[in-house]
């Protein structure tokens, strides 16, 4: 088992490295000057050049890449008087003459635009997106499983057909379309009735200018984000339940004299939901990424909005930090899903 996790983790590191290489090459090769963008309409050549030097953008591409990797690596072997060292929040392990071996928090640099550390910005945005994705997946699981089982138990009736048709519609709609439709219907036309805003972040300023958490701003983005998972989980649950209903052990359970509800609860659910739960945890990772569009439509101030704004202003450290986090969460969640398989189904753990 440890070998397995170790191997997966090393693959994960490789994936992250490739992500950095790919994203940074695209960004750096684009014909835009981030230094120029940090200033307003008017800026003289000298100022821009000075900014460029300060940001390290005048160095060759592979130097920049190397420096970035050095900054985000959790371990370094570095000169004691290196200029970068005061940026790091490090812990010295040992030193050899002029150099020392340190462990540090990955340093994601400062935002070009805001000048704040990227790690602080991410730390603010990530929990908001996490809550959003969590709400979406919980809604999707509850609604999807219930509808999936209802459809399976009423196979080939009008109820089943209706549920399938709606779920196909749900799968086909891209999340930004759903988001716009939801915003329009519930946030604009029915606004007086629902009391929900078309736009708004989780954390905002109230009428007195104090920071306040607006829980109701979670509802519409959460629903919009949950539509596709609901549809997919409904279909998955339905087909898995139909499979399980055909199994001999369901008949065995009835032969014991168990009631219908008990057969469903104790024998059907656990077998049918294996694929559903694992799929849902995979979906959770993509929801973190899928939140980009939905957050943007609703102006919800999470990771997605942060990334989109950074992309618009070529705020390279923020883009890299956000993409790294998203890729990293995919890697970690995938490993967790693999481990979960073993927990839910003892047959797989044995292999």
């Amino acid at each position: 088992m440890q070998h397995y996790i170790f191997r997966k983790l090393s693959y994960g590191l490789l994936v992250l490295l490739m992500v950095i290489l790919l994203v940074s090459s695209i960004i750096y090769l684009a014909p835009v000057d981030p230094a120029r963008l940090t200033f307003g309409q008017r800026a003289d050549v000298e100022t821009v050049k000075a900014k460029k030097e300060a940001l390290g953008l005048d160095e060759p591409l592979y130097y920049q890449l190397g420096y970035y990797l050095r900054d985000i690596s959790p371990i370094n072997f570095i000169r004691t008087n290196h200029p970068a060292i005061h940026q790091y929040n490090y812990f010295k392990i040992f030193s050899v003459s002029e150099r020392m071996f340190i462990m540090k928090k990955p340093y994601l640099r400062d935002s070009f635009q805001q000048g704040r550390p990227v790690s602080t910005m991410l730390a603010e945005a990530i929990p908001r997106t996490l809550i959003l994705a969590l709400i979406a997946i919980v809604i999707a699981l509850i609604v999807g499983i219930v509808f999936g089982i209802i459809a399976a138990l009423n196979k080939d009736t009008w109820l089943d057909q209706t549920i399938i048709s709606i779920s196909i519609l749900g799968i086909s709609l891209p999340s930004y379309v759903t988001a716009i439709i939801f915003a329009l219907i519930f946030g604009y036309w029915l606004q007086a009735w629902t009391g929900l805003e078309m736009q708004g972040g989780l954390v905002g300023l109230d009428d007195f200018g104090d920071e306040k958490i607006f829980w109701k701003n979670l509802i519409l983005p959460g629903l919009a984000l949950g539509v596709r998972p609901i549809a997919i989980i409904t279909q998955l649950t339905r087909s898995a339940s139909l499979d399980v209903l055909d199994q001999d052990y369901i008949r065995t359970a009835s032969a014991k004299g168990l009631s219908f509800v008990k057969v469903i609860r104790k024998h059907l659910l656990r077998n049918a939901l294996n694929p559903v739960f694992t799929a849902a945890s995979g979906w959770f990772a993509s929801l973190l990424a899928g939140a980009f569009f939905v957050e943007n439509v609703f102006g919800y101030n999470g990771l997605g909005l942060l990334t989109v704004q950074a992309l618009l202003s070529y705020d390279i450290p923020v883009i890299l930090g956000a993409v790294l986090f998203t890729a990293g969460s995919f890697v970690v969640l995938n490993i967790l899903v693999d481990l979960m398989y073993g927990l839910i189904d003892p047959r797989i753990a044995k292999q």
Partner: protein, 570 residues
């Protein structure tokens, strides 16, 4: 009347299908007395399982009882008519007063629930015991069904147990609430003979202890003779004959019963051909049995011994990697075949017997180089195939075919059977034109008893026996010299099995085929083989002519295997 426990009267059970209503059970009546064992025998599709599910009211959703009456007259529970009974009373009856053991315990047990909990569930439900006392009861039950280490099995998941152990858990579950009636639906099918024997003994021992009645459903006449007091023979949804077990076996009245008894390969003599059900039902009740006698056997053996060696296997060792280390390097090995040597003459049939896991299948695959060979020699017509290169091996394998156990999964459901037979010919470029190949397919279809019109049909339109014929036709398409029959008739009904066995013998004569015939059914092997190898733990423990092996087995293992064969009443 008071000693009758279950009475079924004019039961008609139907299924609604796309092509209308199909009756599976067409008006049957029978009684089971208290403490008695009634065996229901019949082929697949005869309606025997539907009968048992009708009693339990556990039919598939498209099945329904059209008419009839099922009364249950137990000591603690009296139900005038089970048909149309409300759900709550039915649940009270199921598991509590009527216990059921299903076929294939592997799929009949919930794979993600511990075995003990699955049994405890019924006890807690019906006997209202709490968690800890229910566990105690389950452990006692496990001891009763002779499971080793009850504590371990309580906590085990089904996949961690052997087939026999799972079936014992099933039995424990069925008897957990001391039911007055136990329904056993093919409880020993797919088990090894030795395991089958112990399970049968367990069921009759338990019956003696608890004095419950048993409804025993099986396709195997030999099994039913061992356990039942009375036998009902079912054919096409009707009971064609019913009576005490002795009478059914000694003086069967109905043609169908006679044919069922006759188409099982006998153990005490080696027959040349088996009678089939249609032989009997066409009125040809007097089938003349052709038997190998000692002179004809001697002649055949003399002919065979003068033929050249087709295959020579020398000190063959096969091993699979067990545990692996960090770098995927194996740390231990499982020795599946150990120092096996034998020779096979052209046109000979070699029987391979042994329990599951004895290495029969691995050996046959190793001969085709489909298993990791550690050392040894496989010499085919003078050439060592272990030295062949990939291309040479591919060409050579053309002369080899395997006929598998389950014809349904060996055929692609989306390919017409004509194309399925055509495919290997096209791949290996046999015959010059496609017209010639199609003509050849027609010939093959006729050879295996199918028609030209079947060319464009899909596998699901055929019965199990027909599917196996299709597989045989496909195997013959490349004009092989050598065919491995890996449990090829194990999944078939006895009457269908007889037809397929006859076909294999006819084909052998016509094309001078050489067979390796693998089976766990010793009577089939006995009939088919010129020589027999008995395998245990990857080694050949005994080999010889069938009559020597069966009449004077030298090894203890062989004796055990032979003693475990359900003999019936001969």
């Amino acid at each position: 009347m008071s000693d009758i426990l279950l009475s079924v009267k004019n039961l008609v059970t139907s299924f609604s299908t796309d092509s209308g209503k199909v009756a599976a059970v067409k008006g049957i009546s029978f009684d089971i007395k208290k403490g008695e064992t009634l065996g229901i025998v019949g082929e697949s599709g005869s309606g025997k399982s539907v009968t048992s599910l009708s009693i339990m009211q556990l039919l598939a959703s498209n099945g329904f009882i059209e008419s009839g009456k099922i009364s249950f007259l137990g000591k603690h529970k009296n139900v005038e008519n089970l048909v149309g009974l409300d759900n709550i009373s039915l649940r009270e009856l199921r598991g509590n007063h009527i216990g059921m053991v299903f076929q294939e315990s592997m799929s009949a047990l919930n794979p993600v629930m511990r075995c003990g909990e699955q049994v405890a569930e019924a006890i807690r439900l019906h006997l209202k015991e709490d968690r800890s006392t229910a566990k105690e009861s389950v452990l006692k039950l496990f001891e009763k069904v002779e499971l080793p280490d009850p504590e371990r099995i309580y906590a085990a998941y089904p996949h961690e147990l052997s087939g026999g152990q799972m079936q014992r858990v099933m039995i424990a579950m069925a008897i957990s609430c001391n039911p007055e009636l136990l329904i056993a639906d093919e409880p020993t099918t797919a088990l090894d003979v030795t395991v089958q024997k112990s399970i049968l003994k367990l069921i009759s021992d338990l019956q003696l202890q608890t004095n419950s009645a048993v409804l025993f459903i099986t396709h195997d006449l030999g099994v039913v003779a061992e356990v039942a007091d009375r036998v009902a023979v079912m054919y096409q949804g009707k009971i064609v004959e019913e009576g005490p077990v002795e009478k059914i076996f000694r003086s069967p009245q109905h043609h169908y019963t006679k044919s069922l008894l006759a188409c099982r390969p006998p153990l005490n003599r080696k027959v040349k051909r088996l009678p089939t059900v249609s032989d009997f039902l066409k009125g040809k009740g007097n089938f003349v049995e052709k038997v190998w006698n000692s002179t004809s056997l001697k002649e055949r053996r003399a002919v065979l011994s003068e033929r050249e060696d087709l295959l020579k296997v020398k000190d063959l060792n096969v091993r699979f990697a067990g545990k692996k280390n960090w770098f995927g390097k194996p740390l231990s090995y499982i020795q599946a075949v150990k120092n096996v040597s034998f020779t096979l003459k052209k046109g000979e049939t070699l029987g391979l017997v042994g329990e599951s896991g004895s290495g029969k299948t691995t050996l046959s695959r190793a001969i085709l180089r489909l298993a990791p060979i550690r050392s040894g020699k496989v010499i085919f017509e003078g050439e060592n195939i272990l030295e062949f290169g990939t291309e040479q091996l591919r060409k050579w394998r053309k002369g080899f075919q395997i006929i598998f156990q389950d014809p349904a999964s060996a055929l692609n459901p989306r390919m017409t059977i004509g194309r399925a037979i055509l495919e290997p010919m096209t791949v290996h470029g046999i015959y010059n034109s496609s017209e010639e190949r199609v003509k050849q397919v027609f010939l093959l279809l006729e050879k295996v008893g199918l028609k030209r019109e079947h060319f464009d049909r899909y596998p699901h339109e055929f019965s199990g026996g027909q599917k196996q014929r299709i597989c045989i036709a496909r195997a013959l398409a490349l004009k092989p010299k050598f065919i491995i029959c890996d449990e090829s008739v194990s999944a078939l009904d006895v009457s269908v099995q007889a037809q397929v066995l006859n076909l294999l013998l006819d084909l052998q004569e016509e094309f001078e085929l050489t067979y390796i015939f693998i089976s766990h059914d010793l009577s089939v092997v006995q009939m088919m083989s010129d020589r027999i190898l008995v395998m245990n733990n990857g080694e050949i423990v005994e080999q010889g002519y069938p009559e020597d092996v069966y009449n004077n087995p030298k090894e203890k293992y062989t004796q055990q295997l032979i003693n475990a064969i359900p003999r019936g009443i001969v």
